[in-house]
Amino acid sequence: MTVLAYAETRGGAVGKPAREATGAARAMAEAWGAETHVVALGGPGTADAARGLASLGADRIHVAEGEGLALYQPDVVAAAVSRLIGEGGFRAVVFPATAQGKDLAPRVAARLGCGLATEIVSWSADGEALVVRRPMYAGKAIATLRLAAAPALVTIRANVFAAEERPGAGELVMLAAADEDARIRVTELEIGDRAQLDVAEATIVVSGGRGMQDPEHWHLLEDLVKALGEDAALGASRAVVDAGWRPHGEQVGQTGKTVSPNLYFAVGISGAIQHLAGMRTAKVIVAINRDAEAPIFGVADYGIVGDVFEILPPLTQAIRTARAGG
């Protein structure tokens, strides 16, 4: 019996989504006394990059690499992963709930006729069955689902499952990927001008709302992000996205991104229910708002009542000093 992780690659690199999926698969495998396999498809260099997943518990690493896989090719990957799973013996398959994982998992589930639970936040083994918990209604309810038949497919929410160092055998096996499987082709990947971390992937998020008053004031938030280090990213409320102050890619909430960072700053954000939907599972929430009655304070672990323009500069300075060891 085996648990498989989809080790997402981006241009031949294996990042956090792959590590989190491997860690979750490894933990499941231990619960069932099963082996952990990972599958990685990507550009040249993928095999070398994926080898590193052995240290997180991968016993076998299935790899396909080549120029044609440098960009995520949905059908080619879906077909190759489905063929691998179809060989049998897989109890569960773990995908990261990233743009790739969310696109891929339903395709694989439909091809193989297996059950899929998306964006799970916890799991347990109940005999042979996999029992998972996942938010519904934008986090306003938590569902418990039971996937009795094998293989059970899941996508895991980012920043929820940690990968632990735990050496696995790391046997490398080449996997066939056929370009003819492509019904659709990804021809280009356009990544934003700044080499900036996406809000959905960051472990620290600084979000600004209408309380920032003007897009010209965003440098205050950018400074705070910089002070917080390279795992921090900017987010935004819908009000400022709709006003054209910030790009939609930064929007957090029901019609934006769902984030679960370790630390979330809501700056000049009222805390509308649709905004909370996207960030209430953050581990620590800090709110800065001049209205002590703002609903954001109801979910914030720490709040400061006051004017953002008076608070941001000293806050950025204090965090810079604290992080420098002062």
């Binding site: 743009a99 969310k102 696109d103 891929l104 998992a105 339903p106 395709r107 589930a109 439909a110 006729g113 059950g115 899929l116 639970a117 998306t118 964006e119 938010p135 519904m136 209604y137 934008a138 306003k140 309810a141 938590i142 569902a143 418990t144 039971r146 996937l147 038949a149 019904r183 659709i184 082709r185 990804v186 021809t187 280009e188 990947l189 356009e190 934003g192 996406d198 959905a200 939609h248 019609t255 370790n262 630390l263 229910i273 939907a277 209430r280 620590v284 800090v286 304070f297 109801g298 979910v299 914030a300 672990d301 720490y302 709040g303 400061i304 009542v305 008076e310 608070i311 806050l315 204090a318």
Partner: protein, 249 residues
């Protein structure tokens, strides 16, 4: 060009969620239902492509209870040509819904099959990709831009930090993300016209679920918020708490 748009009736995003007595569903009392917001983008896109082409029909399909007729009427009022209700209780299992929709779509002419990227009740984000596989069609998900010419399409889909550009032939499946367009409102004329448009209702029997819903709960109430203080004087204490109590940096 014949376009099919799958739309779902869902509780409004401002709904206060209360769990019903069965511990498995939403208490419908006082809940306002709307067309899934992402499906509005899908429908708008279908209408625009029909208008640009000057021909073709837009068919909307929903799987749901009898009340979902209201959602179909809204779609007809916005400009869809015909509507189909697959009467059923629905399922939390995306695959079950996808099979029922795919069976209906298969029997109808379709150059383009549009979906919302996600239904905001179950938040499954499963059905579009599954229907595409069942129909063996090219599929672009989470699309913010769609261009169609001479039976081929180019789409941009949202990914972390940017976009992927996709190229594919029709027929195809596309799921809509916010940003694709600005959905129109139904005009009074549209609402009147909708009453005369064809709306077919049929019972469907759903396949057995592979994912069983055991329970639905309200999330634990967040620990009451703590106000650290007022104004810039509270900053040092906040930073101390973040370091020492929360341990975040």
């Amino acid at each position: 060009m014949n376009t099919i748009v799958c739309i779902k009736r869902v509780p409004d995003s401002a709904t206060r969620v209360k769990i019903a007595g069965d511990g498995k569903s939403l208490d419908p009392a006082g809940v306002k239902y709307v067309m899934n917001p992402y499906d509005e983008f899908a429908l708008e896109e279908a209408l625009r492509h029909r208008e640009a082409a000057g021909e073709g029909t837009v068919t909307v399909i929903t799987l749901g209870p009898s009340e979902a007729v209201e959602t179909l009427r809204q779609a007809l009022a916005m400009g869809a040509d015909e509507a189909v209700l697959l009467k059923s209780e629905g399922s939390h299992d995306g695959r079950v819904v996808a099979h029922a929709l795919a069976d209906e779509i298969r029997g109808r002419p379709h150059d383009l099959v549009l979906f919302g990227k996600q239904a905001i009740d179950d938040d499954n984000m499963q059905v579009p990709g599954m229907v595409a596989e069942l129909l063996e069609l090219p599929c672009a998900t989470v699309v913010v831009q769609l261009e169609i010419a001479d039976g081929r399409a180019t789409a941009r889909r949202e990914v972390e930090g940017g976009h992927e550009v996709l190229e594919f032939p029709l027929p195809a499946v596309v799921s809509a993300q916010k940003g694709l367009n600005e959905p129109r409102y139904a005009s009074l004329k549209g609402i009147m016209a909708a009453k005369k448009k064809p709306l077919e209702e049929k019972e469907v029997t759903l396949a057995e679920a592979t994912v069983e819903l055991v329970s639905l709960e309200e999330p634990p109430a967040p620990a009451a918020g703590r106000i650290v203080g007022e104004g810039p004087d509270a900053v040092p204490e906040l930073v101390r708490l973040l370091r020492e109590e929360a341990g975040v940096f």
